[in-house]
Symmetry: C2
Subunit: 437 residues, 2 copies
């Protein structure tokens, strides 16, 4: 038997919950109870959560009456620090680790009234072995990774909002596989302070939700420099939610097959070609400037991961998976000159991409080669997300399509770095189109 | 015969020249003529200049009537771009190269009324072979490097102000060997845009002059972010000249032997110990945190130089010296993990140094192991300047002492990053002390 289907729960959007809590129509404690009942239905089969503490959730709920996310239960990927809950980074080497303080993103969610309901399962250190979370749409399939638990929890209706991170494809890919909205905002939009550092050049924090509006709410409150993350320095907070309140209009869309389009499975490729026609998205060629973008990403990412993780390897190498150890050893073999050359290529490609986009508001492309692969061993190919992560541009997964095998596939919407509002508006418009179709 | 002494010229300070030109008491064209006559006396023996164009100087002088440096003739190290004069980087591979635009530092000097009199000799790409400039105090000795021509031109009284750069010791060391004032301001104070990039982590632009006031004038007009150099981003322009107009008072001084003190020649070390007593400078131990600072500097610098210079090596390797080729090949062998680890160590040491300085206003130390070595092959040891370059802290060479061999030695004054005004005030006070002694 290659599929096990379960009945998914429905969760009210974060925007509705917060409005009800702020007005007094609901109390945050009810929201915790409601989340608990939804989680209880499927958690044993899905395995989205690394840590849940209902007493602590109730305690948080007693004070959660105000703010853009008042009373909204949120799942936080377990590589993002929480001062009051274990933050184990998906490895036995950090079992029971409780960090001294919240990550910037978490502290800002709390300030906005959110309830940090628990920690969601990540693959090993967000760059190693998968850890058993199942795809809510078919338990035999991977939910994608590395933000496996956050994507699955939102897809199963457990929580309306969850945090992930993306250094290669760890937000957009699981969002696509799980059929939920996901957004990686422009590099630096959400400071990474307090999130396990993999690659300072490529790390992004992102969000999963069931609506575009909820992505906006979550990102808005976490955005803006924090005086600590140098990548976020000088970047003001953004206002995506306000941008979505303006009436949506058809965006001028490009169809960007991108440098790794040949990886897309033929059946899915045909669906994207058809969608591009329906949306009047004009084919756009990125040109030869980006031919080495996968190489550049891999060189810089593996060199930086090897650097950042080496202390863990030295402290607890025997507790790491063989896959992870092999990646670190491989990363340590990269030369400084190659690293610096490829990092310079990344900066040059980031500049060049603005010109590629010309007059287009946003571009559509595939978020993954196809549907979530069978099995839990691999979290799937990251090749369709690498380019946009490398460029540091905003990327949104719009759910609403189904692949040839009956599992969700998504549409990835990307744009210029800093054009997050325009990209999310285009994504919301595409979401309406898919819902109406 | 181990020495050839010549008679040095005297040049009015830049501050006096600018005041006279602004008031109409002198015309900038007179200043060009005066510089020409001083240069004519000794240039053939010293070899400080790579390029001089008297017609162009006169043309600039016709418009140089206003500004903090009105009519002041300035020498510019030949790795710093000038749109109207060759910028050959000290290598035959760039012979005749005229860049499309001025470096930020040069453009700002022009805006302040300075006359870019010519380009001064640099060692090969500021990191390779020396190129024959002689020490004005003894023609058989090196002037130091890599900013050889700028230091020698100021020492010989040719110009009151000249630009250098320091990635290891290229401002402070030649200033000490040539007996002139030199200052490397805090990392990022003067944007490096348009200066040959050796090492993005370590490159500084600095200044040579015959007075502390002239250092201040020059640095002030060049300082402040330019929207291009990321190291200068967020840094406002500074006002050293204003700080020097306040009456000088005895600073609270530390005597920082630093991690490479054992390199100082015994005779000179005794002079510094004596000076520390005279100035009531308290011995200060940097502790074990800085034990690997030389390693960290060398790893990061050689990896970044190899990266930045590799295109030159591929284009014109045969035109480079064997020394330079060997350095690039050595740099290419450094691993990315070592590079990243040592770069992280540098950032950690930069944070730690603020604590080391405690309540001290500034610290004195040696700028070099001793006097300028005999011969022109080597430009001398950089070991006494590496730590301060690595830390990105302000460093000033105060002239006024003479070593056991009769050549100048200097006092290096350093302080916290950003405390440039305090460090320069301390240096000026020490300069008065040496003059009075």
């Amino acid at each position: 038997m290659s599929e096990i289907r379960i009945s998914l729960q429905t969760c009210r959007p974060a925007a509705d919950i917060a409005a009800a809590v702020r007005s007094g129509a609901s109390h945050a404690i009810e929201q915790v109870e409601s989340a608990r009942s939804r989680i209880d239905v499927n958690e044993q089969q899905i395995g989205a959560w690394q840590h849940l503490d209902w007493q602590l959730a109730d305690k948080q709920a007693q004070r959660a009456e105000l703010g853009a996310l008042a009373g909204v239960p949120v799942g936080v990927k377990d590589i993002i620090d929480t001062f009051d809950q274990p933050s184990e980074n998906g490895t036995a080497a950090d079992r029971g680790r409780i960090p001294p303080s919240d990550a910037t993103a978490v502290a800002r969610l709390r300030q906005a009234g959110a309830i940090i309901l628990g920690k969601t399962v990540t693959t090993e250190c967000a760059c190693g072995a998968s850890r058993g979370t199942r795809n809510p749409h078919n338990l035999q399939h991977t939910p994608g990774g590395s933000s496996s638990g956050s994507a699955a929890a939102v897809a199963a209706g457990m929580v309306p909002l969850a945090l992930g991170t993306q250094t290669a494809g760890s937000v957009i890919r699981p969002a696509a596989f799980c059929g939920v909205w996901g957004m990686m905002p422009s590099l630096g939009t959400i400071p990474c302070t307090g999130s396990l550092k993999l690659s300072e050049t490529l790390d992004h924090i992102g969000v999963f939700a069931n609506t575009a509006e909820d992505l906006a709410l979550g990102i808005d409150v976490m955005s803006g420099e924090d005086g600590n993350d140098p990548i976020a320095a000088g970047l003001a907070s953004i206002r995506l939610a306000a941008a979505l309140t303006q009436p949506l209009a058809p965006p001028r869309l490009a169809f960007l097959r991108g440098p790794t389009w040949s990886e897309v499975e033929p059946g899915c490729a045909a669906q994207y070609e058809k969608l591009a026609q329906d949306l009047a998205a004009e084919p756009l060629d990125m040109g030869a400037d980006f031919a080495d973008i996968v190489d550049a990403h891999q060189t810089v990412m593996f060199a930086e991961i090897a650097h950042n993780m080496w202390p863990l390897y030295e402290r607890a190498g025997a507790m790491l998976s063989q896959m992870m150890r092999a990646r670190l050893v491989k990363g340590r073999a990269i030369g400084a000159a190659d690293y610096l050359r490829m990092r310079a290529r990344i900066f040059a490609m980031r500049m060049a991409f603005n010109d590629v986009m010309g007059d287009f508001d946003a571009a559509i492309t595939a978020p993954a080669p196809g549907e979530a692969p069978l099995g839990l061993e691999s979290t799937g190919s990251r090749l369709l997300t690498l380019a946009w992560t490398t460029l540091g541009v905003p990327a949104v997964n719009v759910p609403g399509m189904t692949g040839p095998g009956g599992l969700p596939i998504g549409v990835q919407v990307v744009g210029r770095r800093g054009d997050d509002a325009q990209v999310l508006r285009a994504a919301a418009w595409i979401g309406q189109h898919l819902a109406d179709a």
